[in-house]
């Protein structure tokens, strides 16, 4: 019989006060958006400080036996688009969308911070049992990196320069028990969203941040039970791969560096949305 979880005594602390979506433009031609504390451009994407962390304590009604406790995270890419333009209209424009097929077959994915087995986000070894209480912790720092300029084959391979990036994602982070028969019990969760919405201008050949409409928001905090969002129910019932980091990394690579297609369109003329002083 599975161990009883005394969730009426659950303590769930989410620390997110310092989480601010940022943008870094590196000198070798990339834009990095990041939600971290302690962003380190030199070691990106490794060794970044978690932007938000959570700790949970819950007593059990007995020995955990073979039940495993850790966090499951489901991520959804709502929009991932980057837009580039030539210096003048006749140098064309490029639109890249990485969150749609074929680059990304399904925008809702099981998320993991490293090479951890599904369904876990982080290794269950981060969880400890000090009778009668289970202690566990979690942290994340979502980010992505894309080129700041792309060559437009419809405009004589001239460079087009990034003027807008939108990366919008939702996450459901769920403290979960997995019983020996593989049954998942979703104990408590929080639902959060990060949206990087940044615009750039170019001066003397270098990208500068023009405006940011980025935000980070916790929609549901310390909510008991299974998340109710319809879009993630099938993955909660049957958590399967691919893991978000792998699938999304592949989607970004394919969309930005793969052949032209549904994920990247190149145009001989400029978008009407390019600010007039974008290049200067």
């Amino acid at each position: 019989m599975a161990v009883k979880i005394l969730d009426s005594q659950l303590q769930f602390i989410l620390t997110d006060g310092g989480a601010n979506p940022g943008v870094y433009i590196n000198p070798v031609g990339h834009v990095i958006v990041h939600l971290t504390q302690g962003f380190n451009a030199g070691s990106f994407p490794n060794n970044q400080g978690d932007a938000l962390t959570a700790g949970v304590r819950v007593p059990l009604g007995g020995d955990p036996g073979g039940t495993t406790f850790a966090f499951v995270q489901i991520g959804r890419s709502n929009f991932y688009g980057a837009f580039y333009a030539g210096r003048i209209p006749r140098e064309g424009s490029i639109g890249v969308m990485a969150n749609v097929p074929p680059a990304l077959p399904n925008p809702v994915m099981v998320d993991a911070s490293s090479n951890v087995s599904i369904p876990w986000f982080q290794d269950p070894s981060r969880t400890s049992y000090v009778p009668p209480t289970i202690h566990s912790s979690w942290g994340d720092h979502p980010a992505s990196k894309i080129p700041s300029k792309l060559r437009n084959s419809f405009a004589s391979n001239v460079y087009n320069y990034i003027f807008q990036l939108i990366d919008d994602r939702d996450f459901w982070t769920i403290f979960t028990a997995q019983d020996p028969d593989r049954t998942l019990r979703f104990i408590a969760y929080f639902h959060w969203q990060v949206r990087y919405g940044v615009e750039f201008m170019w001066r003397n050949g270098e990208a500068l941040l023009r405006r940011s409409k980025s935000f980070f928001k916790v929609h549901e905090r310390n909510t008991k039970g299974r998340p109710t969002e319809p879009a993630i129910q099938s993955l909660l019932t049957n958590p399967v791969g691919p893991q978000a980091n792998i699938a999304f990394g592949n989607a970004v690579t394919q969309a930005f560096y793969g052949p032209r297609g549904p994920n990247r369109n190149e145009n001989p003329r400029s978008f009407s949305t390019v600010p007039v002083d974008f290049w200067g």
């Binding site: 980010a143 437009n152 004589s156």
Partner: protein
Amino acid sequence: MPLKSRLFHGDRALEARLIQDSAHLTLGTVGDHVSKIHTALLVLDKVSVAVKKLRTETYGPSTAAAVLAFKTRRKIINTNYQKTPDNIVGKMTIAAMDREMIVKESEPPFRFDPKSNPASN
């Protein structure tokens, strides 16, 4: 002989440079054909001209300087009457730009560099 690169092909003003000495591009020239020279200078030599001249499609001092640098690097000199390159776009210059643009346009637009692999988390 017509210009063959996608950038220049069919541009009558530029193709005239191939056959008429009087059609040289010089300081003060304005037009879409000048804008194409600006694009070629960016693609071939990564040189951007002054923003105002870029927008007004004008062959200004920064364009002339970029053209001179382009010709100097390639030793484009009409030995019939000069010993050093000048800053105008004539027959030899437009032909050289056209040849190089054909090569650039045939290159794949993306070269994947594993060291700069885009990443996401």
